[in-house]
Amino acid sequence: MADLSINFAGIRSPNPFWVASGPPANTGYQANRAFEAGWGGVVWKTIGEPIVNTASRYSAMHLGNTRIAGFNNIELISDRAPETNFDEIAEVKRRWPDRVVVASLMTDTRENWHDYMKRSTDCGSDAVELNFGCPHGMCERGMGSAVGQNPEVIETIVGWVMEVAEIPVIVKLTPNITSVKHAARAAKNAGADAISLINTINSITQVNLETFAPEPLVDGRSTHGGYCGPAVKPIALNMLHECAADPGFDLPISGIGGIGNWRDAAEFLALGSTSLQVCTAIMHYGFRIVEDMKEGLSDYLDAQGFSSVNDMIGRAVPNVGDWQNLNLNYKRVARIDYNKCIGCNLCYVACEDGAHQCIDLIDPAGYGLGPGRVPEKFIPQVREVDCVGCNLCSLVCPVDNCIDMVELKSEKQPMSWKEYQQRVADGDMDPIPAHP
């Protein structure tokens, strides 16, 4: 059994799985249930001056049979009094000394930040998370993403917080920004101990075509809401990698955004997260999902021969980099396994209309067709000499592993675009002719 425990900026957690700041982390009752189910930590619903919420608050993007492929909310921070939240944190910490409780904070003036920092420390929080990410409502009041989008303001506020910080300070960043790196660097410059990302992404999920108002509907109107859930995972992974690969940026990162099972979790770890936070998946299925996350991750680590989760953190970071360093001489083509092909021809039409016209429909005679195929119906065949290896057909093919993208050994030495430019400039080679 691999060791799942982590040390995140000095905070010890029995496993990397934390409940993200949001509705599942709203009360002591929920934190208790989360710990019962096995979560390693809870980042409390953001504490600040109590706000007033609207009805309704959430909407979603369903995709075919998949409910909640993406989730959107227009909820603000905690609507409970700060003293209620701090009292409950104290009680939860008393009951669960080995688990992590992080107070998420959002306020405005330097005095208020100092006050909240002191109260967070006094109630026994293991750390604080500064919410610089909420993209609706709070930003109109100069907080949340209004802070997170401006590195100078981040630096100022983190500076205030660090003046009194006795426990680790995590800065939660917004994805609603051109480059998250600058925000991360600002947090580091001001002395923060860690960052977390991503918060939610500005979004409108749908428009009601009778009332012409989007959901979530509030008395005939709506507003831009924060997007999260499975759909945002690729964006979160990208931003995670940007920070994890930023030279000189060495703060631990808590990864958030679309994590729903052990595999998502492992991908975040591989791209440089030390701890992981989950909101939407809990809102969909409850705290019980952590069982699969812990077990699946542990089995995966065992199978890979890693004795600790720390052995895999950041392993994929070096394998992602600038386009200009990719090998232009690498060749990969699509190959169809006729024992698996069911004859839908989606690959054919995708390549013909959507890619590079490299698949022919040919007479099936002589090809070992899979069971159930209509005899004599023409079958798709990749013209490997023309295939550019774009992956499209293998992505549309509805049968797992039916179209393999196979590597063709090239006799040519690897050559990146950067090297190519250099060689052409040096007169070592002619420019590669344009594609016909």
Partner: protein
């Protein structure tokens, strides 16, 4: 006409292949994705062993098949056989909420088979017995599903379990009696090895009461679990019953399970007498092994038959014929000339609905093989002689407390067919587990630590260890927390 093997090896294997093929990975994922992952799921509640079904299905969807198998096997050590033989239509799948949305219920059995097959193929050690032993020893009489489950549970709780089995192979009816096209013997034997891997000793070829006396067992062990199942099929009680060509259903099925299929002899026209699940199994297997015609003879009508509806459907699809409201009165033939057929009479229900023979309605039908499937005899009085102190109910089964399996004799427990009068494999597994939990409690004064996912309806009867670390709902803790909250201001 002759009783002899009818089919080539290939044809027999094809006819007797498992009814539904194993899922391929993509099929399993697609099916698993349909599951709603219900909370308080009715499917869990309908499983006698309380497997956390949404939990294991979600794990399959998430490509954590090993974890899925772990969840299943922790709750039900015979998860692989239950996946194949359970009447899921009337258990978990019959409770699936998708039925209320007019959709096909989740194929829980097939998914369970997918996950457990993976466990056996990968040979990962998913179950463990603790290194520290309690020193308590339990004798288990009978190595069928009830006995194996009790032994596995005891071993996982740190106690020593020794199984006494009179057959040459353990597994009980899972090994000897289940229809071949539901489960091959190899699956049952692999499960026996899993139980052995937990340190359980199995003494095969050892009949308690004959090879080992009951009092010796009582002297050597801290507790005893009686899991002896049922006895031989009832006899017809008609002339000619001992003619060659008249066989017991269980003997016929055992023969086909223990020998190469192309060596199993069947008649050209086979009569099967009785209409329970065993009769259907015998009839379909005779048909699938090449019998020309198979006729089930039953003294009541189709509405009264004890067999499950889908078993009846399967027999009809296989071309089995039915003679309802008919009773055999004599087996025709001679020792020298062999079996010639059956003399039968029509029956009519009397005022109480009991079938009565109609005088003068005799008719003869030629058969060259007759399979008796009138139900199995109860072994209560046999075992009560071996273990005085236990009591027998009026149906001939061992009397025991349902929740704990404890008999009137305070250190003897009972479960499975011997106690419930004849039910399903999964009931036997559940009863074995419950008895193990009760023994553990009597040894240690504590309930077993393996907890179950409780549901709104309470804990599924006797279920333990659905595979999660802690129950999701801990009502007392919730209350305590709220009380603490109130007192803290």
């Amino acid at each position: 006409m002759a009783i002899k093997p009818k089919l080539s090896e290939r044809a027999a294997e094809r006819n007797m292949a498992e009814l539904e093929p194993a899922y391929r990975p993509q099929e399993a994922t697609v099916e698993a994705d349909r599951c709603l992952y219900c909370f308080d799921a009715p499917c869990i509640h309908s499983c006698p062993t309380g497997i956390d079904i949404p939990g294991f299905i979600k794990k399959i969807a998430n490509d954590n098949v090993t974890g899925a198998a772990r969840t299943i096997l922790r709750a039900n050590v015979l998860g692989a056989s239950c996946a194949r033989v359970c009447p899921t239509e009337v258990l978990c799948e019959g409770a699936c909420v998708l039925l209320d949305r007019d959709e096909t219920p989740i194929k829980i059995g097939r998914l369970q088979r997918y996950a457990t097959d993976h466990a056996y193929e990968s040979a990962l050690p998913l179950l463990h017995a603790p290194a520290k032993k309690s020193g308590k020893r339990v004798a288990i009489i009978g190595g069928g599903p009830a006995g194996l489950s009790c032994a596995a549970e005891l071993a996982q709780l740190g106690h020593e379990a020794v199984i006494y089995e009179r057959h040459q192979k353990a597994g009980g009816l899972n090994t000897y009696g289940i229809a071949y096209y539901k489960m091959k013997p190899a699956v049952a034997l692999a499960e026996v090895r899993l139980v052995q891997s937990l340190g359980v000793e199995i003494l095969t070829g050892t009949e308690v009461g004959k090879d080992v006396p009951g009092d010796e067992i009582l002297n050597c062990y801290d507790a005893v679990f009686l899991a002896i199942g049922l006895g031989a099929t009832y006899s017809l009680g008609i002339p000619g019953e001992d003619l060659p060509g008249v066989v017991e259903a269980l003997a016929f099925i055992e023969e086909l399970r223990m020998n190469p299929l192309d060596e199993v002899a069947v008649g050209d026209h086979v009569a099967v007498i009785g209409c329970g699940n065993t009769a259907i199994d015998a009839a379909t297997q005779a048909k699938r092994l090449g019998a020309n015609r198979v006729t089930i003879v039953y003294r009541r009508g189709p509405e009264d038959m004890p067999a499950f509806e889908y078993e009846y459907e399967l027999a009809k699809t296989d071309g089995v014929e039915f003679l309802f409201h008919t009773q055999p009165v004599e087996v025709l033939g001679s020792k020298a000339g062999g079996l010639e057929g059956l003399r039968m009479v029509r029956t009519e229900p009397d005022a109480n609905g009991r079938p009565q023979n109609v005088a003068g309605s005799e008719f003869d039908v030629p058969f060259d093989m007759v399979i008796k499937a009138l139900g199995q005899q109860k072994l209560g009085d046999v075992i009560a002689k071996i273990f005085p102190g236990i009591t027998i109910d009026k149906r001939g089964s061992i009397e025991r407390d349902f929740a704990t399996g404890i008999t009137k004799h305070g250190s003897i427990y009972a479960g499975g067919d011997a106690a419930n009068g004849g039910s399903e494999v999964v009931d036997a597994v559940a009863e074995g587990k419950r008895a193990a939990a009760a023994m553990h409690a009597s040894f240690t004064g504590e309930a077993p630590e393996k907890l179950v996912q409780t549901t709104r309806l309470g804990t599924p009867d006797g279920a333990t260890g659905a595979g999660i670390d802690k129950p999701v709902r801990v009502v007392e803790l919730e209350r305590a927390f709220r009380a603490g909250e109130a007192s803290n201001g």
